[in-house]
Amino acid sequence: MPTIAEKILARAAKRDQVKTNEIVMAKVDVAMSHENADVVIRAFKEIGLKKVWDPERIVIIFDHRIPAESEKSAATHKRIREFVKTQNIKYFYDMREGICHQVLAEFGHCRPGEILVGTDSHTTTHGAFGTFAAGIGGTEMAGVWSTGEIWFKVPESMKITVHGKFKEFISAKDLILFIIGQLGSDGADYMAVEFHGSTISEMTIASRMVLSNLSMEMGAKVAFILPDEKTISFVRERTKKEFTAVLPDRDAQYARSLDVDAASLRSQIACPHAVDNVKKVREVSGLKINQALIGSCTNGRLEDLKVAASIIEGKNVHPDVRLLIIPASRRIYLDATKAGYIETLVKAGGLVLNPGCGPCLGAHQGLLAAGERCIATTNRNFQGRMGSSDAEVYLASPATVAFSAIKGEITEPC
């Protein structure tokens, strides 16, 4: 009767079974870092080993400050490149590929049944492939680089079941914002979330990634979508590595369950300054905006750009609004260009930035002044996150952001 989390941890710990709340040592399959590899490198050097445990299991991807916004970041990039060469790190994606969570998926690094740790909180994204994927800090990653192992407390699991068809313009983002609003920002603290139900099985891989990605914002340690044919064929097209998909037992025990009816869902929005401050878009419609942002590891994928382009086509972005478009990866950028979405968005007045994290975390590109308001498809609206602490960030779906960008105010799609 184990859950997915229990099955994967048992296998990674070379045990028949594990018990909730016990501490286990797990073997790591993939260890990902971005620019904070610099923090990892320093701690790794302090631990004092000469060589990393396995240069073929470490993945480094630049995405947070690309191209370098300062001399300091340029020096960080340089130090990491040198380390990559010295240690023969096999999978290094310099700034040309895009956001780490998208790049990991596109290059076949997320495989069902495996353990993936990343020095980024949104590493939960890869639960969308049935991977036990959790965020960790830099020093802990240095421990993984040294030993290939990490301790985990076997988490309790939460089962979220979703049935029904979305109304027009309602998407995975509205669903997960709704769930976070219900459960609160610590509603899934330390837990493994499993998404079940017909709505989830019908979802695209891209939409499933939105659910796993944002589950972090309710505290989840990992957030699984049950791997199915769609998952297997997506992964097989991208890697030759063998993997074994894991499903929960039918009578698996869950500490908590939640059922959601997708059909009755309206557009949702997370209001300042917390991701669980969720309202229906119509409750805050009419608020003027200065910036609209479509991108990030949450919603910068092809289907997001497609819906935005279909809404904006033939119209103009409101003159008082800066619409920033950030494709999540080079692949997506190319596909969106080929499909004409980029042309549509640029014609309407959108600014297309290079694939990367952009202003989501407030490092560069499109920060906000005091008193400004931004509606974004990103994942956090904490006070001061995207520039001034007197600015406001609202989080919504690509459709809501697109409609709002045209009207110049927060607008419910219809």
């Binding site: 501490i23 904070n36 631990i47 300062s70 960080t76 980024d120 960790i136 020093t139 920002s185 603290d189």
Partner: protein, 178 residues
């Protein structure tokens, strides 16, 4: 090694003055994103604790203070700087009703004492003097001698913390200690 950040084992008994925060203090608040390009200069990180949203912290707080907070302390980003800046500022412990998991692990790995104590934030005020006893799993408020229970760390995890963090712990375990 030139600068040994992870230098000594952690004391299991800590005494200090309370600096109080509320619920859901996220890592963007603790360590603003605009300073994430500071990756290795730990003293510099300490100069930016809470700078954007609670700038008074840098003026009022003192090394040795114990942060007492409500639920979900350290939620949000995995940035280790959030734990490093507090440690390097000299915060001797963070006691909260609950922690977000990545911050919690980061703190332990850096040798910054973190203690889960349900109900703590209602019982303590700014400037109270408290004693944290990790071994006994209790907090004693000097004001009224009240004893508050904490949730004890699993012994394997306490071992990492009491070694002074993951680096000294692994150096010993892997036999690279000089």
């Amino acid at each position: 090694m030139k600068e040994m950040f992870y230098n000594r084992p952690k004391p299991l008994h800590i005494k200090g003055r309370v600096y109080k925060f509320g619920d859901n203090i996220n890592t963007d608040i603790i360590y603003p994103g605009k300073y994430l390009s500071i990756t290795t200069e730990r003293e510099e990180m300490a100069r930016h604790c809470f700078e954007t949203v609670y700038p008074e912290f840098l003026k009022i707080a003192e090394p040795g203070d114990i942060i007492v907070a409500g639920r979900n302390f350290g939620c949000g980003s995995s940035r280790e700087q959030a734990a490093t800046c507090l440690k390097y500022f000299g915060i001797s412990a963070v006691v909260a009703e609950s922690f977000a998991r990545i911050f919690y692990r980061n703190a332990i790995n850096l040798g910054l004492t973190v203690v889960i104590a349900p109900g703590i934030s209602k019982k303590l005020e700014h400037n109270d003097i408290i004693e944290v006893d990790l071994k006994m799993g209790i907090i004693i408020s000097k004001k009224n001698r009240e004893e508050l229970k904490t949730i004890r760390l699993p012994s394997s995890v306490l071992e990492i913390l009491s070694a002074g963090g993951l680096v000294p712990y692994l150096r010993k375990k892997l036999g690279v200690e000089q």
